[in-house]
Amino acid sequence: MNPGIDLQESFIETLIDLGLPVGAAKAIWMPLPMTVIIIGATLGVLVSVWLERKISAAVQQRIGPEYAGPLGVLQAVADGLKLVFKEDIVPAKADPWLFTIGPVIVVLPAFLSYLIVPFGQNLLISNVGIGIFLWIALSSVAPIGLLMAGYASNNKYSLLGGLRAAAQSISYEIPLALAVLAIVMMSNSLSTIDIVEQQSGYGILGWNVWRQPIGLVLFWICALAECERLPFDLPEAEEELVAGYQTEYSGMRFGLFYVASYVNLVLSSVLAAVLYFGGWDFPIPLDLVSSWLGVSETNPTFQVVTASLGITATLLKAYFFVFVAILLRWTLPRVRIDQLLDLGWKFLLPVGLVNLLLTAGLKLAFPFAFGG
């Protein structure tokens, strides 16, 4: 950790100089990063909705949205506004309380998980020690909301959709955790910062994707299943279940499900980038660049440039994964529910265990390359 710009310290000191007490200054600072991240996550949703529509159109040789703003970039905003203004209907025999709480429980963990997403050495809300484990734990709460929504709608399709969502989420959580565990084993820490640190130093060659290719595939399949993206979107399979647990929802309550699914997709992509593609790490080691240019690492300008490069690198890598997810959506047919569960329990779980064992063996055999 090098000394340099510390936004938090300087912000608090400015406030203290303005005559505020220390506690108040710290309390004013605290909500700022959270607000920035929440706004960022929401913008990420808008961007990925637009990308989804544009890329889907390109895959199907259509034009896609083009009238709302240049290239249709405002289409997602228009969609959101439409949802806000739609009538909010609660079916007559639905359970109004559970019907309302369900979508909220689905959305909250998705946003809460952004707590641990790093965009730079110190650019994250909280470097909690349990890091990536927090994401796995939080993502297991969402199915309760789905079950709640499915049950409260008083509709057979909804109930079946909710049950499928819960079954799918439970089944794919285990291989996902095993894939993450292999990474954690290599970096000796659950913290996302340490995971990226362990990959940095050699540029693109040091990224985990070269050491964990099986893990990456495993992680990505399971992440798609957890997000209910298309090869695995059984809970909402239109041909079978109308729209699954979303069938009875309209207006902003439906919007919450929609937002949650895209927040989850972006979050999984960012974490895939952090775990396997070196997070904010630039393909060329930046300290090499600084020594070529003859700039000190603590130079403020250099630090600002590094931080913005880090954020850009993280987002580019994350949106690469979003792009892959969208392409997969139009490439692969949906699996059946029994195929889904077979794949999860009989294929991915053993592969995850083997990958973990291999990683442990390689770590013992080559401690310099696999984080001894």
Binding site: K26, L98, G129, I130, S140, L147, G150, L163, A166
Partner: protein, 210 residues
């Protein structure tokens, strides 16, 4: 009292209220689905209490295992069972209620004496441990708590095998089984009496569409 302590006290009060309220709801509400959802609320609040005690790993594990797995499976079971059965008062229900009350009071007395007799001084220094809690837990699990840890895993293995044995029992009518569809892999403890031949009075698990 600075900001952090105030936040801590307020959140402790809120979490305790949530635990107590949700737990009372679990016991007292008539609708079993509400009880199951409130159980999730109880477990999440307890995870919050763990967080206040600097036990972050235990809190996350609580959310992952109790909320994300156990509670979802309870909900699953509740929602898959589609049996409307009117409540019939049992003849000697006071025996059961008396026994329940006895056990609960006994448990409460036991826990209260334990809490009162333990000296809590010196346990809580108020500060977070220097090393990460995950590392501490790992060291304890593989040194002085190795035996309980392994015993728990043996218990889980037994439960797993039991679940497989229960799930492999196929409920098929006797004549079909004996004549043509003899399953290749039959467990010795498979019951020989047919379970589902009678016309539609008993609902099989999985038929939610009645």
């Amino acid at each position: 009292m600075n900001l952090a302590e105030g936040v801590q006290i307020v959140s402790f009060g809120l979490l305790s209220l949530m635990v107590l309220g949700a737990a009372l709801g679990v016991v007292l509400l008539q609708n079993i689905v509400y009880s199951a959802f409130l159980l999730g609320g109880v477990l999440i609040s307890i995870a919050g209490l763990y967080l206040l005690l600097n036990a972050d790993f235990v809190a996350a594990a609580q959310v992952l295992i109790y909320v994300g797995a156990v509670n979802i499976l309870i909900l699953f079971a509740v929602m898959l069972v589609n049996k409307q059965e009117d409540f019939a008062s049992l003849p000697r229900s006071w025996v059961r209620q008396g026994a329940t009350a006895l056990v609960c009071t006994g448990l409460f007395a036991l826990l209260s004496t334990m809490i009162l007799q333990t000296s809590w001084l010196g346990l809580n220094s108020g500060a977070a441990p220097e090393t990460s809690t995950t590392i501490l837990i790992g060291e304890h699990l593989f040194s002085d708590f190795l035996l309980p840890f392994e015993l728990a895993s043996v218990l889980l293995l037994m439960a797993l095998i039991g679940a497989v044995v229960l799930a492999r029992r196929e409920f098929l009518p006797e004549e079909i089984v004996s004549s043509e569809r003899q399953p290749v892999l039959t467990l010795p403890e498979r019951p020989r009496q047919p379970m589902v031949v009678s016309s539609g009075t008993s609902s099989t698990p999985g038929s939610t569409s009645e």
